[in-house]
């Protein structure tokens, strides 16, 4: 061809233009420095979803019919543990790949140690297009710490509803502190007092009158915080739209609030499990539960929670299906998990408790690999600390030594150690520096789980030992039956905690 196109040459080239229609979307969206072989990563977290309330753990209620079907193309982990029993602790474990005694993310609403600002999931994938959104303000607080490593951080309020949301949109550059300030100024729910001397009284009344029946949510709109509501559908729609148009490879981290309380599920799921004959015996309250909480109240709340899971399941299915139809999943690793569980036992409803029983600490984990067509079931114990090493391994990146997790089986070329120790910690009332007290700590090794509760004056310290394979609901405390095993596990737990806490003892 000549250097200057003549009419004939131009027409020949123009005839090729329609071929552009058939160019794969994944090629069109490619990050300039990436190849088609670099998989996208999509981490989906549903807040407060307990593994013991999913069919994958033998729960008699089918709370996740869609995910059960999708799991035919996934690796399902049946003994996966969070690092802590509430959002800050669970999320900091997942996002830093370390336990909370290392990253110091064990206090509610706090950030992790500054040393993790460049040591986290987002920082380890600098060559990816990193996108994140969360309904949960506690997660936003953590994410704001990692802002330098996020390419798109969607402000929480842009996908939520409510008067506070309108004001929050105006102040979105300061969302974390505005949200905290709003709660401390107006809400007396947690502590009984607020910064507002007079108006907070009327605010409580106003809130109650506003969130009543709303359209397709007969129990009230799902609620994020004291002044903010949300529709999961809106967040899912945004996620799909964003992932369809964003540059690849992407690392998306999306933390949705259901089934976190209040358990305001969508209309079609109301009373699905009503009078279904489900019954689970409960244990009497320990030092922290309400000994007068009626069993039927616990069962009702449990049912409402299970119905809220149905809503989350349906929306995840919608997300997954739309992404699959768009072709994005052909080159995307999808992680489905939670930050912590929920408890309806021992006089406790929820997760803000010192207790660390299985419903709180066991969370679902499903990994969908591109092109996977057969289900795999993994029964080895795994930890939320394992997510980052696994993703690094799957994308061919080096695994830093500071990570405390391992590559998940079956992706690990090394056979798994069946005697591997998995840990968890609850210490939200402990100081950040100095000895960890009070605390609740667990070590899981094989089928055995040892827990220690210490420093909760005036309650005495006590230990528990369970065979969680044979006794998943932890009714039979074996601490007196197997003192030697308990002693060995206690020693390992204490040594590990002491070692991790050593740098903070004398700060």
């Amino acid at each position: 061809m000549s250097q200057n196109l003549n009419r004939r040459e131009f027409l020949k080239l123009a005839s090729l233009l329609p071929m552009a229609y058939f160019t794969p979307r994944s090629v069109l969206n490619l990050h300039p420095n990436q190849t088609e072989e670099t998989p996208n990563i999509l981490v989906i977290v549903f807040d407060s979803l307990s593994a013991l309330h999913t069919p994958f753990d033998g729960y008699p209620r089918n709370t996740m019919p869609f995910l059960s079907e999708l799991a035919k193309n996934a690796t399902v982990f049946h003994n996966h543990y969070t690092g802590g029993n509430f959002t800050t602790a669970g999320t900091s474990t997942l996002l830093t790949g370390t336990y909370t005694w290392t990253n110091r993310g064990f206090k509610k609403g706090y950030i992790v140690d500054q040393s993790f600002e460049d040591r986290n999931l987002f920082a380890l994938f600098e060559d990816y297009n990193r996108i994140s959104y969360s309904h949960n303000p506690l997660v936003n607080t953590l994410q704001s710490q990692f802002m330098n490593h996020l390419d798109l951080f969607k402000p929480r309020r842009e996908l939520s509803l409510g008067f506070g949301n309108w004001l929050g949109q105006l102040l979105k550059n300061d969302d974390d502190i505005f949200t905290l300030s709003w709660d401390r100024i107006l809400s007396k729910a947690d502590d009984g007092y607020s910064y507002s001397l007079l108006f907070s009284e009327f605010y409580e009344l106003l809130k109650k009158s506003v969130n009543t029946r709303f359209g397709t949510f007969p129990r009230g709109l799902p609620q994020i915080s004291e002044e903010s509501f949300f529709l999961l559908e809106k967040a899912i729609d945004w996620t799909v739209d964003e992932l369809k148009k964003c540059a690849q490879p992407f690392l998306g981290y999306f933390h949705y609030l259901p089934p976190h309380d209040p358990y305001n599920t969508r209309e079609e799921f109301i009373d699905v499990f009503h009078k279904d004959g489900f019954y689970q015996p409960t244990k009497p309250a320990l030092y922290w539960g309400d000994p007068h909480k009626l069993e039927n109240v616990q069962l009702r709340l449990r049912r409402q929670y299970d119905e809220f899971i149905l809503y989350a399941d349906a929306e995840f299915n919608r997300l997954y299906t739309q992404l699959k139809e768009s072709g994005i999943l052909e080159n995307t690793i999808v992680i489905f998990t939670s930050d912590h569980g929920e408890l309806f036992d021992l006089g406790v409803t929820g997760h803000m408790t010192p207790l660390i029983y299985q419903p709180l600490m066991k969370i679902p984990l499903l990994v969908f690999m591109p092109g996977q067509t057969e289900r795999q079931d993994i029964y080895q114990n795994t930890s939320a600390t394992d997510i980052i090493p696994t993703l690094l391994h799957l994308t061919g990146k080096p695994i830093p030594a500071w990570l405390e997790g391992e590559i998940l089986p079956p992706f690990n070329p090394t056979p798994p150690d069946k005697n591997r120790s998995i840990f968890g910690l609850e210490a939200k009332d402990s100081k950040l520096v100095g000895p960890l007290t009070p605390y609740s700590a667990m070590i899981v090794k094989g089928d055995v789980k040892f827990t220690r509760y210490s420093g909760y004056d005036p309650n005495p310290d006590f230990d528990e030992l369970y065979n969680v394979a044979e006794d998943p609901n932890e009714f039979d405390n074996l601490i007196d039956k197997y003192p030697q095993i308990a002693a060995e596990l206690r020693e390992e737990l204490m040594e590990t905690m002491a070692k991790a806490n050593a740098p903070y003892q004398n700060k």
Partner: protein
């Protein structure tokens, strides 16, 4: 009107500032010192709005006072009403801050009566009513009490103006946070 507004400013700001001081340490520990200042700034700006709301309410209340009352009596009576309402709101919240325990004899009386809520209302309501009605009555019959109240109001003015200055600083800090951060 200016003095009435400054009286509204006083208790609301005292409370807000005390709360910020009480929680400053853990908020600073949560993220950092500057963020703790941010929370304080939001608290001050809200305190200003709350003062305005209370001022509007006080103006409406002043319409209920006898037309024959002069401005001094009106201001004195409204001052005591505002302070009384603020006092009982503070008591309601201080209970939770201090983890106050009700005296045993009182708790037993409430429980044994079978109507603890009515006992609570029955004992506290007259006290609250007396704390408002008492000063109003004194303003009505004692000119000296009225003048003492006005003298007290004048002393509070300087403090209230200082709080308004803090509100301005807080507002500017928030503007900076939302533009620069």
């Amino acid at each position: 009107m200016r003095k009435l507004f400054l009286i509204c400013v006083f208790p609301i700001h005292i409370w807000a500032i005390l709360m910020v001081i009480l929680e400053f340490q853990w908020i600073g520990e949560r993220t950092n010192f500057v963020d703790a200042l941010g929370v304080g700034a939001y608290a001050l700006v809200f305190a200003l709005l709350e003062s305005l709301m209370l001022f509007i309410l006080a103006l409406i209340l002043s319409l209920l006072l006898p037309p024959a009352w002069n401005n001094d009596k009106r201001l004195a009576s409204l001052t005591w009403s505002i302070l009384a309402i603020s006092f009982w709101s503070a008591v309601n919240q201080v209970y939770f801050i201090l983890g106050a325990i009700v005296p045993r004899f009182y708790a037993n009386w409430m429980v044994n009566s079978g109507h603890p809520l009515w006992i609570l209302i029955g004992t506290l309501f007259p006290l609250a009513l007396a704390s408002i009605a008492g000063p109003l009555f004194l303003v009505l019959i004692k000119e000296k009490f009225t003048q003492s109240t006005l003298s007290f109001v004048e002393r509070l003015e300087t403090l209230s103006i200082f709080y308004l200055f803090l509100d301005l600083l807080g507002f500017l800090f928030l503007v900076y946070r939302n533009i620069a951060f």
